[in-house]
């Protein structure tokens, strides 16, 4: 594997070393008055201590997703069966000792937050009862997810692997759940077996997923079973190339890998194709995520050291060259007023942000309405074609599915746009590298919750009694009319003629009534569809707006925080310089020594952070990383 590469640069800083650097930074900041800087470093520390790199394994059902994970961690954690096996997602992560738990949503009777999720520990052997299609068909137990912790070296880097139910089965509910899980994932593995090249639904899913997840790899499973897997691999590579240029494809066999670990046969292991996937997971996916993390931590450190250095440096200079102090103070004041500008509402980035969010909200609303209107038109056309009564359950299911699909599209689109907006704001904020806040808008999981289920519709069945009554209504008039008429000729009210007329009119009345019922049912159905879509527009529009406002707040707070830090440092520097200019010579000597020592430490930390940053810079290590 890649570790043996001779041309490898010195190992990058581990999470532990990074944490030590951050702790040093915290000491330097001290418990003093710079609470803003220490808070920033504390956050970085928290991020370092809980690294979680989520890799979602997706694919159509029966492609061998669960077995792939089992073979990867070499333990039978995900249930495998000849029939459809997985019904709830399973999260596999590092943990000592091995344990399992299920996450169940708690029904909150108070009606408050419906999203509270309870974690119930279970026995590892009991897991299939909760996540398999046999033990829990169609996820009837409402398990949100299962969690398995395993003491595996491979998982120590924070790698978390998520097994998902197959997409493409009956109804597209699974597809949606899988898609909504993707925005929070760092990478996706698309599994397809070697029996055939990609099908249209698979590539459609891949294209959708590519818009949400940055890192996608494809896996060609079950190569042991199909003699012609190389042909399929070739075809698949072509298809992948047509979708995006750099999606790697790994042909592998889970059975061979399991057999290899049973026999301790390393040759067989290499043949299974897994080492390549493991290397990819470690170098590309985990490595990339760690590089990203190292970069953000080093950015934090650099900015903190920069801030600290500014005030120390100005104090030092003021002491060493008192005559320059007024110039320096003036320059500092100028910088301070510039930083102050950035904090003001009228700053350019603030305007970009508020305008952008307003545009985004308007566009989003238009997009949502447009999609839903198209569905409404389609639904009305379908209703007009026939009697909606008997097929109402299927119809409302179709409606729900297409609405859900439309909403997830809108969410994905909105998420893309808000990321773009954040980048735009950052550009206006400063030309320097500014780390972007983490945004999650695309998760549409709970957006639909406030919308009620589609109400039922009269199925249009008329029981015999009703039929008789409807018929009677017509025939009564007929009998009476003709009975009275024929009464003129001296016949009794009930005579063959009047009864005949009654029967005829009764039939007619029944038929007319049936048509009227159909018309009414069609009208009712349309009203229901309209009301439902109206509800969806209202609720989802509100949710989306809330989320966008949240995005706006996150972006604003993020950049205001940075502006505040600048301002604060500059103000500190000004006062330190002024104080220094006024202090006594004797005190000066001691203070200069103190400051120099302090500066030395800050510079050391700054250099360390710079080294980390250079190491983690995009493109700096990719050549070595793939080796």
């Amino acid at each position: 594997m890649a570790e043996a590469g001779p041309a490898r640069p010195p190992a990058p800083a581990t999470a532990g070393q990074l944490a030590r650097l951050v702790e040093q930074g915290l000491q330097l900041v001290g418990t003093g008055d710079r609470a803003d800087l220490s808070k920033r470093l504390e956050q970085a520390l928290v991020r370092l201590q809980d690294p979680s790199i989520r890799v979602v394994v997706v694919g159509e059902f029966k492609q061998g997703k669960s077995k792939l994970i089992n073979a990867l961690v070499n333990a039978p954690v995900c249930p495998v069966d000849d029939d459809i096996a997985t019904s709830a997602p399973t999260v596999v992560r590092y943990g000592e000792p091995a344990s399992a738990a299920i996450l169940v949503p708690v029904a909150d009777n108070a009606g408050g937050n419906p999203n509270t999720i309870e974690r119930q520990p279970i026995d590892l052997a009991e897991l299939p009862v909760f996540v398999s299609e046999q033990g829990n068909p169609g996820n009837r137990r409402k398990v949100a997810a299962a969690e398995v912790c395993l003491p595996r070296r491979m998982l120590t880097g924070g790698l978390t692997i998520i097994d998902t139910p197959g997409v493409g089965g009956m109804g597209s509910a699974h597809t949606l759940t899988t898609l909504t899980a993707l925005p929070t994932a760092d990478a996706m593995l698309l599994v397809s077996d070697a029996s055939q090249e990609y099908t249209e639904p698979e590539l459609r899913f891949l294209r959708q997923a590519l818009r949400i997840t940055p890192s996608v790899a494809a896996v060609l499973s079950k190569t042991d079973l199909y003699p012609d897997w190389r042909r399929v691999e070739e075809l698949d590579r072509e298809h992948l190339k047509a979708v995006a240029p750099d999606i790697p494809l790994f042909p592998l066999s889970a059975d061979l890998r399991l057999e290899a670990s049973r026999l301790q046969d390393s040759e067989l292991n290499i043949e299974s194709g897994f080492p390549a996937l493991v290397a990819h997971l470690r170098n590309e996916i985990v490595g990339k995520a760690q590089r990203l993390q190292r970069r953000s931590v080093s950015q934090d450190l650099l900015s903190v050291t920069g801030n600290l250095r500014l005030s120390l440096q100005s104090e030092l200079e003021a002491m060493e060259k008192p005559e320059e102090t007024p110039h320096m103070v003036a320059a500092l004041e100028h910088a301070k007023s510039e930083a102050d500008e950035l904090r003001k509402r009228s700053a350019r980035w603030q305007l970009t942000l508020s305008d952008g969010i307003n545009d985004l909200i308007a566009d989003m609303e238009y997009d949502l309405r447009d999609r839903l209107r198209r569905i409404q038109r389609e639904a009305e056309a379908a209703i007009d074609q026939g009697d909606p009564g008997p097929v109402w359950p299927q119809f409302s299911q179709w409606l729900e599915e297409s609405v859900a699909a439309a909403i997830s599209d809108t969410f994905v689109w909105t998420s893309e746009r808000s990321q773009w907006l954040a980048a735009q704001v950052a550009e206006h904020f400063a030309a320097d590298e500014v780390s972007l806040p983490v945004l999650h808008v695309a998760d549409s999981g709970d957006a639909m919750d406030p919308v009620d289920q589609m109400p039922g519709l009269d199925p249009g069945r008329v029981n015999p009694v009703q039929k008789v009554l409807i018929g009677m209504r017509g025939s009564y008039g007929g009998v009476l009319m003709f009975g009275l008429l024929t009464g003129i000729f001296g016949m009794s009210l009930i005579n063959p003629l009047s009864v005949g007329a009654g029967l005829l009119l009764g039939r007619k009345a029944y038929r007319e009534d049936r048509e009227a019922r159909l018309k009414r049912r069609q009208g009712d159905a349309k009203t229901l569809v309209r009301r439902q879509l109206d509800d969806v527009t209202f609720q989802v529009g509100k949710q989306l707006k809330d989320r966008l406002r949240l995005v706006q707040r996150t972006i604003r707070d993020h950049f205001t925080g940075i502006a505040d830090e600048y301002h604060r440092s500059l103000a500190d520097s000004v006062s330190a310089a002024q104080k220094a200019a006024n202090s006594y010579a004797r005190e000066k000597e001691g203070r200069i020594r103190e400051i120099k020592a302090e500066l030395h430490k800050v510079d050391a930390l700054h250099r360390a952070a710079e080294a980390v940053a250079a190491d983690a810079a995009p493109g700096a290590r990719t050549a070595a990383g793939v080796a």
Binding site: D83, S172, E197, P227, V232
Partner: protein, 493 residues
């Protein structure tokens, strides 16, 4: 039973021809249906891409004629019909049909389109001297959910034309696992037929059944369980008359087992079991391995290609268990592949009522014509159509059979089973309907038929009976009466 339904359908077509004789388009269509009525039943083989349609077609025919490949292969609708000499005809969308050169690579046909693009070809027509094609014309279709949209569209357009009765009288639908696209397709095929006749005319096949259990020796048992679950699935019950698992590759190769294959398999069977399993860990290992007692690499590659890992495993076990000659081994492999139940089901459901199914297509064609091109002087034709639709007992039997199959009739299970048999669910011959041996005497047949008639009259007379069941009883009683009439006719003659 009464052979007149076909004759009446033919009469109806003739009447329609008379009525529409001054419209060349209609005349041509009607003449086509007239010819179709005289031809064997048309059974289409449909399914998602790579479901194994061509392989199954080869298995049913018993010869490897349809080309198969690892990539997507069938791109043109191809008809396989019986003919005395092999011949391939290409029907372009525009222009005259032309004969293609007959070319075979490794036994399979190679279609040399010389110049024509797949998009411009309407269909290929293969005439082949195979006894299996006597009874039915098989139609190989491109897969649905294909990556090339126009290929899928070609298949759907052919099977579900929307504005005319489907070109196929019945469908064998292949699926690997029940996929949403499978159900959608079957629904539209049923809707297409149901609007006209109310019958179910599809059989679902769980194809590539040996891969369900990753090629393990018990794969087909697993596959049978899954097929059992699917056949209970309410979504599929409505759409298909049955679900059977078939290992298509094994079936195809078993029916064409060669002496050389047998010798290679025998060599493998003689190997130590553990050593054999080690060698068969993966397809690659099997092809590469060295300790194979004189089995050449080509022989191994050919075995792998023709039988798959499952087939080789199964054959080795069977040879060790006493199937030591090629012919019994071939039979046993074919039996285990699940091909026989499929052929039986085909025979029972499609071939036994081929006449009725074809007549139904003709009736639908006339009905469609009347609706799409109404004319002032067609009342007589419309009346004849109505008479045939309402009066033809075969159509009512077909409809009831579909209802019984799809659980639309509220009846006790054993009664429902008997009703299914009496209306010809296993075959339309009188002894088959009555559940007797084919050589039973007329007197015995008449006695049993009379007993059935009496029993079903009693059932029908029950005032508490459900409405749907009452309708069913009436059809069954009518079937019994029909049988008695036939039997008395035999006596007179």
């Amino acid at each position: 039973m009464t052979p007149s339904t076909t004759a009446r359908a033919a009469e109806l077509l003739q009447e329609a021809l008379d009525a529409y004789r001054d419209e060349p388009g209609a005349v041509e269509a009607l003449q086509r249906y007239q010819r179709r009525l005289a031809e064997p039943l048309r059974v289409a083989i449909a399914g998602m891409v790579k479901a194994g349609k061509s392989t199954l077609l080869n298995a049913i025919v018993g010869e490897e004629i349809a080309p198969t490949d690892t990539g997507e292969c069938t791109r043109i609708v191809t008809w396989y019909r019986h003919g005395h000499t092999p011949r391939i005809t290409l029907y372009p969308k525009a222009g005259d049909p032309r004969i293609l050169p007959l070319k075979r690579t490794a036994g399979r046909l190679a279609f040399v389109l010389d110049g024509a693009r797949a998009e411009d070809v309407d269909r290929l027509d293969v005439e082949w001297p195979s006894p299996a094609l006597h009874a039915m014309t098989l139609i190989d279709t491109p897969g649905i959910a294909s990556l090339s949209q126009d290929v899928s569209a070609r298949s759907s357009g052919f099977l579900i034309p929307g504005d005319a009765p489907s070109e196929a009288d019945a469908v064998i639908y292949l699926m690997r696992h029940m996929h949403a696209s499978d159900v959608r397709f079957l629904e539209s095929f049923r809707d297409d037929g149901a609007a006209r006749s109310g019958t179910v005319n599809a059989i679902a096949v769980l194809s590539r059944a040996d891969e369900v259990g990753a090629g393990r020796i018990d794969s087909l048992i697993s596959a049978a369980d899954i097929a059992g679950r699917y056949s209970q699935d309410p979504n599929l019950r409505k759409l298909a008359l049955g679900v059977v698992p078939v290992a298509g590759l094994l079936a195809q190769s078993a029916r064409t087992l060669r002496q050389s294959d047998f010798e290679s398999l025998e060599l493998l069977a003689r190997m130590d079991r553990a050593a054999r399993e080690r060698m068969m860990l993966s397809a690659d290992r099997f092809r590469r391995s060295s300790d194979t007692q004189g089995l050449t690499e080509e022989a191994r590659a050919s075995l792998l290609e023709r039988y798959g890992l499952f087939g080789i495993r199964l054959a080795a076990v069977l040879i060790n268990n006493g199937f030591a000659d090629p012919t019994p081994l071939a039979h046993e492999l074919a039996r285990r592949s699940g091909l026989n139940p499929l052929l039986e089901l085909l025979d029972r459901q499609f071939l036994a009522r081929a006449e009725a199914l074809k007549a139904r297509t003709a009736v639908a064609a006339v009905e469609n014509l009347l609706r799409s091109r109404p004319r002032p002087d067609t009342e007589a034709l419309a009346a004849a159509l109505e008479r045939l639709q309402a009066g033809a007992h075969e159509f009512r039997e077909l409809r009831l059979l579909a209802d019984l199959r799809t659980g639309g009739v509220d009846m006790r299970a054993e009664l429902a089973a008997e009703a299914e048999r009496l209306i010809g669910g296993r075959g339309t011959a009188v002894p088959l309907r009555l559940g007797l041996a084919p050589d039973a005497g007329a007197a015995e047949l008449a006695a049993i038929a009379r007993a059935c008639l009496a029993r079903w009259r009693v059932v029908a007379a029950n005032p508490l009976i459900d409405r749907s069941a009452l309708e069913a009883c009436r059809v069954v009683v009518r079937s019994c009466e029909g049988m008695l009439a036939d039997l008395s006719g035999v006596k007179v003659a």
